[in-house]
């Protein structure tokens, strides 16, 4: 048993409380909260499947290049090289990894931030106003969801190259600004979370629409906005195809493209394998995003539950 399941089991001392807690966690089958060991074992298998690659990454980030070849994949090598690897990672080729990290942050802050802002404002507008052309907006955005993002990438590249935007940060940021998913989530969320009477009252008091939005509505939308922001952050942080085709200058690469180039340099003519750096770089790449999900899980789980899938 892991420490975590142990901690979860603790309330069973107070049977009544555990019962209530269980029901709050999942509104299922009233009294019948008898725990099933078989089911738990099945889920442990699922968890192992999810964790093994991550554990592999963690373990191998501590190995030197020679140790990678000579030691078993899921156990540590002769030397504990994590800190050397990290130091080498940030100094290799004049610290280009740091540059990529900075680029990724730039794309995330401007791209995902902008996407969240646009989706929030527009979703709110859809939920709380009645305006000419609303049905058309609905139909067009919905139709566009079926357009595979990557199918757009090549034409977008050609369009951008006509106006000289390729190989600039804008080429990555501008297409990231649209999140149809966020638009829907806020739309449905705002319909439920913001009472129309509240807006009426604000209007009676003479508050302008934008003032009402920023002082009243935005606060009520917070869990939805966090959810949209988090998924937009993941989408931009993990973006690979778009920057791959848009950027040719390595100084503008995000982490994903940079890491794949490092991995590619291990094969072919003049191969220079730096697997230890690819692995450590991968670890550094996923740490912030995993941390964001863990820290914000209360918000996005409620936002997702209340907004997107409610039927």
């Amino acid at each position: 048993m892991t420490a975590l399941t142990e901690r979860r089991k603790a309330p069973s001392r107070a049977a009544a409380r555990s019962n209530r807690a269980a029901r709050a966690a999942a509104p299922v089958s009233g009294r019948r909260t008898r725990k099933s060991t078989v089911l738990t074992i099945v889920m442990i298998v699922f968890t192992l499947y999810s964790f093994v690659p991550l554990v592999w990454l963690l373990v191998n980030a501590t190995k030197s290049q020679p140790d990678l070849y000579s030691s078993f994949g899921l156990w540590f090598g002769k030397d504990f090289n994590l800190f050397q690897n990290i130091a080498e990672l940030f100094t290799y080729r004049d610290g280009i990894f740091l540059q990529w990290l900075g680029n990724t942050l730039l794309y995330v802050v401007v791209g995902a931030g902008g996407a969240t802002l646009l989706a929030t404002v527009a979703g709110y507008g859809m939920a709380k106003f009645n305006f000419p052309g609303k049905r058309a907006v609905f139909a067009v955005v919905l139709g566009a969801i079926a357009v595979p993002g990557t199918a757009l990438a090549v034409p977008t590249f050609l369009m951008f190259s006509q106006v000289g935007l390729t190989n600039t940060p804008w080429a990555v940021i501008l297409p990231s600004l649209i999140s149809p998913f966020g638009f829907y989530l806020i739309w449905t969320y705002a319909s439920e979370a913001i009472p129309t009477e509240l807006l009426e009252a604000a209007r009676m008091d003479g508050a302008g629409e934008f003032r009402t939005f920023f002082t009243i509505s935005l606060r009520l939308l917070a869990p939805g906005v966090v959810t949209v922001a988090l998924f937009a952050i993941v989408a931009t942080w993990n973006n690979y195809f778009l920057p791959l085709i848009m950027l040719s200058d390595p100084t503008w690469y995000p982490l994903t493209v940079g890491l794949s180039q490092w991995s590619a340099q291990a094969t072919g003519v003049g191969a220079q394998p730096i697997f230890n750096l690819v692995i450590t770089g991968s670890l550094i790449t996923i740490v912030p995003i995993v941390a964001a999900f863990l820290v914000l899980q209360r918000y996005w789980q409620s936002g997702l539950a209340a907004g997107s899938v409610k039927q």
């Binding site: 892991t2 009645n130 609303k134 139709g143 969801i145 039927q311």
Partner: protein, 315 residues
């Protein structure tokens, strides 16, 4: 009846449509232009970043770069060429096979996990929920790199296992490569789909369970008679997203290509084909045509799934 007139994402559509009607019933906002102040910025960027490229791609697909005479209008000739292109069909067949095998396995696993977590019979349900979801946060590139290392015969886990057990596992061989990619995609998205199903399970009203209990329904009966019908909408959504994802397959095979250059061709998936046509072959018009064809195929299939999904719901 519940067949909403518009294709994908039926459930989110349901609420907005209700809200479209609601104002009038309340005698609330008169129809005016104020709402546009909120929606316009999104729509402007949307028009530039989504609609314009689509229109441009359609325009490109009608032209061809000739050796003599430059850019010439060729009507639907590019489409005719794509539809008789053996490489295109090979890549299309491959992602279709991928779709038919990988998507049901992934969604079934996600559903089992969601039902288990929702069952309240689990020790540490909250832990499992977040644990299974974590791979979604890992960038596709990093996932492909990690699994590529694991599959590898140099210092991968596979090499270690082969050495220890004397097996001949070769996940990167032409025979196994599609399954290996399927495993990566399943790993990445199982938890995400689990969360979609779980969220749908959570909103089932408690009275339904109470009624089932009074009727003496067992756990399995409850699953099949109450839970599965209730998450049908979520299953349709997840299926549509998975179909779109399968047809778009690019990151994983493109990265594994470095490790398995013989097993993965430049036209392994339609997307890789379009990519290599544009950036290795400079055949932009033809690449745009491939993209449009894939878009139409994706939209049609997504639409059919949505129709079928909601028709069953009526029953």
């Amino acid at each position: 009846m519940t067949t909403t007139s518009l294709p994908p994402t039926a459930p989110p559509a349901a609420t907005p449509q209700r809200s479209l009607r609601r104002p009038r019933r309340n005698g609330r906002p008169r129809r005016d232009w104020r709402g546009w102040a909120f929606v316009a910025p999104f729509m402007v960027v949307f028009a530039l970043m989504i609609i314009a490229p689509v229109v441009y791609a359609i325009y490109l697909s009608l032209f061809r770069q000739q050796l003599i005479g430059g850019n010439a209008f060729v009507g639907l000739a590019n489409y005719a060429a794509v539809l008789t292109d053996a490489k295109f069909w090979e890549s299309f067949g491959r992602v279709s096979l991928f779709l038919v095998v990988q998507v049901p396995i992934m969604l079934a696993l996600s559903l089992v996990a969601a039902l288990a977590i929702d069952s309240a019979r689990l020790h540490g349900a909250g832990f499992f929920r977040i644990a299974l979801f974590l791979p979604y946060a890992v960038p596709g590139v990093v996932a492909a790199l990690i699994w590529g290392f694991i599959y590898g015969d140099q210092f991968g886990l596979t090499a270690g296992i082969n050495q220890a057990l004397g097996t001949q596992l070769a996940p990167l061989s032409g025979q196994w490569i599609l399954g290996s990619i399927g495993n990566i995609v399943t790993w990445e998205f199982m938890g995400y789909n689990m969360l979609i199903f779980y969220a749908a399970l959570r909103v089932i009203p408690g009275e339904l369970y109470e009624a089932a209990e009074i009727d003496g329904a067992g756990a399995f009966r409850t699953v099949f008679s109450i839970k599965l019908p209730a998450v049908r909408g979520a299953i349709v959504i997840a299926t549509i997203f998975s179909i779109i994802g399968s047809f778009q397959l690019f990151n994983e095979p493109n990265l594994l290509k470095q490790l398995a250059p013989n097993a993965i061709s430049s036209y392994f998936t339609p997307n890789m084909y379009a990519y290599n046509l544009s950036f290795a072959g400079q055949q932009f018009n033809y690449a745009a045509t491939v993209a449009i064809v894939m878009w139409v195929v994706t939209a049609v299939i997504a639409y059919v799934v949505q129709l079928r999904g909601s028709r069953k719901e009526v029953r």
